[in-house]
Amino acid sequence: MKEIMLGNEAVARGAYEAGVKFVSSYPGTPSTEITETIAGYKEVSCEWAPNEKVGAEAAIGCSIRGGRAMTCMKHVGMNVCADPLFTVSYSGVNGGLVFCVADDPGMHSSQNEQDSRHYARSSKVPMFEPSDSEECRAFTKYAFEFSEKYDTPVIIRLHTRVSHSRSIVDVTDPSQIVIKDYVKDPKKYVMMPANAITKHVVVEKRTAQIIEDCDRDLSTGLHKVEYNDRKLGIITAGASYQYVKDAVPSASVFKLGMVWPLPEKQIREFAANVERLVIVEELDPFLETEIKAMGIECEGKELFTLLGEYSARLVKSVLSEEPLPEASIDTSKLPTPPGRPPVLCAGCPHKGLFLALHRLKVNVTGDIGCYTLGALPPMQAVDAVICMGASVGMAHGFDKATDGEASRNTVGVIGDSTFLHSGITNLMNAVYNQSAMTLVILDNSITGMTGHQQNPSTGKNIRLEAAPAVSLELLCQSVGVLPENIRVVDPVETYECEKIIKEELSKDQVSVVIARRPCALIPTGRAVKGINAEVDYEKCKKCGACARIMCPALILDENKMPVIDTESCNNCGLCVNVCKFGALTKGEQ
């Protein structure tokens, strides 16, 4: 049966058809919908893990015990689970084991542009790369079989254009979920030196065997050679294949479905059959380096950029003599369109906390998620963002750089989900190593930026069933933060936030301020419809303070007086709190 699916949905479908037993992931754009789609397949055990390492290790456990398992992540998530990945490569699997990683060339929603293919080579784990939704389904399904056949985990590599494009998929019926027998086998699964030394030999043999099998027979369905005009031969994979097909339809193309290890003999043969060989790949010269190391002459990054997403236009401009298409509108004659920068939402209560930090003029080490937007005007209240959890570590580092002095004017800022992902180990370290740092946990009771996924503090699991909830206060106490240094505030009370943070900054031990209010976009954070902030125009002095909070639900009219957009106002009261003249009041039920 044919269905139209996102690449991510098709990966989930492929895993379901393969009889996957268990999927454990941490959300991350552009990979999130894979695990969300799996949650809709009721036969499959499925969960949000607090981070990618935990998700991977749970999947490994399921595999060793005999069930097919998968873990999904965005590219930077692969860094977090690299440790188990490198060693499960040695131990191998029992039930098929798949790591699915989604890269983000062009950084649509990421902090870097890393090329995850390097992980395949360095961990010696085979990597498949689908180029559309049907391949997402078919390659994922095959990955489980391949994993068991060669006793290896398999990585599926996606990227934004494959993950977030819909195309037609030929769905098939799911296989029965099978749990294989578990037999104790410490030589295989206990990776201490004596066993790992022998397993490393097995890994190298396994890679050689995969290359030999692929070289002998392309019919595994992964690789595809399309001979056409032999003047130009292109080796490519993934989304780049689609750009090549549009840009130079006359060229001969070797489309790789597995980007590591490579079928050397087949590549040699293709190279010998074309006059000019060009490698088209986004980001790093990964295939190019491998192919050049085989002693094959080819062109690659001397023609194409290391940066960003490619397009058919780009490939055409380099490899085709044909003119590029021209627009029918002369845009030089058009007005400049004003931008639409992402902003903290109308009614986002945590804006109040950032306004407090802005007034305090402190240094702020920030973190990944909605709160990165605190770096933008008007708050401009974030100084540094590196990766998940780093806000806490960096605030501790500020303290150590100045023998504690910086802790008087430095605050770390992190969300609830990110804190549980990898902030907690940093907090433990800061207490243990006697920092005086202050951390603010912005607890909006959800994983916000990726589209509202549950986490261990929200009291619900991935299927929205009730689940035990971590108490952030008790968790902080348990790593040694003194109870009197743990303060809970309502971020809408922006002046109260300012006062409390000031008090905590003056202390000589680690402090944690929990700013707690649910995200304005989830049911527990949404106001009753039709009840909004109200303006008393008699009292308004046109000072503009309410507009400076930059709430999308409040604009100034031509008389510089506020107008509330009743559609988007969430009645949070932040504008009310910043009005010194009582001209704004919260709507009452």
Binding site: K2, I4, L6, T29, P30, H108, S109, D132, T160, R161, H164, S165, R166, S167, I168, A239, Y241, Q242, Y243, K245, D246, S311, A312, R313, L324, P325, E326, A327, S328, I329, D330, T331, S332, K333, L334, P335, T336, P337, P338, G339, R340, P341, P342, V343, L344, C345, L373, M449, G451, L521, A547, M550, P552, I555, L556
Partner: protein
């Protein structure tokens, strides 16, 4: 029935471009054609500019629509029409909803919302291309909800695509099968767009 069309859906987060893209995907699939619908997620919920590409043909490769290759641009908002104008190909058709959604820099007085956008588009456009303006918001409100702007826009597009009306109606019913109560309203919105686009 064969069809080749590259369609850009440009708008602001919350205007329903994603659903319109999905609906076009269903329409093409029902016609036995290949189709790709490419979306950008992430920032869309936060008032950002959102763009969806739909490519329909017997065989579709790249999901992205680039400069000078869009047969149709459906712009759900005036300024977004300007932002993506360079995608319109020679002889293409741009349908612009004359709704204005001011972004925060405009609301804060840091930037100006340009006036006469539709006239400017018409003046800077090749004679063989076409700019069509439509008050999709008012038409949607006549069906009872501003949410139907996306289906009004598809109704307007249907005048240029040459696909049987019955196939459109079937696709609308399929796209909203999980919310059956909204089907009559959406069919009505489609008609309004078709009669006014």
């Amino acid at each position: 029935m064969s069809l080749e069309a590259s369609i850009v859906l440009a708008g602001v987060g919350g205007q329903g471009t994603l659903i319109a893209g999905k609906l076009l995907g269903i329409l093409a699939m029902n016609m036995g054609l290949d189709v790709k619908v490419s979306e950008v997620h992430g920032m869309s919920q936060r008032g950002g500019s959102v763009i969806t590409y739909v490519k329909i043909a017997p065989e579709v490769h790249s999901p992205i629509i680039e400069e000078g290759t869009a047969d149709f641009i459906l712009s759900f908002e005036q300024v977004e029409a300007v932002r993506w104008a360079s995608l319109l190909k020679k002889g293409g058709v741009m349908i612009v909803n004359d709704q204005k959604i001011k972004s925060l820099p405009v609301l804060m007085g840091q930037m100006e919302y340009p006036g006469n956008v539709i006239d400017a588009l018409k003046e800077s456009c090749d004679p063989d291309a076409k700019i069509v303006d439509i008050d999709a918001l008012s038409l949607a409100l006549e069906t009872g909800t501003s949410k139907a702007v996306n289906i009004v826009m598809l109704g307007a597009l249907s005048n240029y695509l040459g696909v049987d009306e019955a196939l459109w109606k079937q696709a609308i019913e399929q796209a909203f099968e999980k919310k059956p109560k909204t089907i009559p309203g959406n069919l009505q919105a489609f008609e309004k767009g078709r009669n006014n686009g």
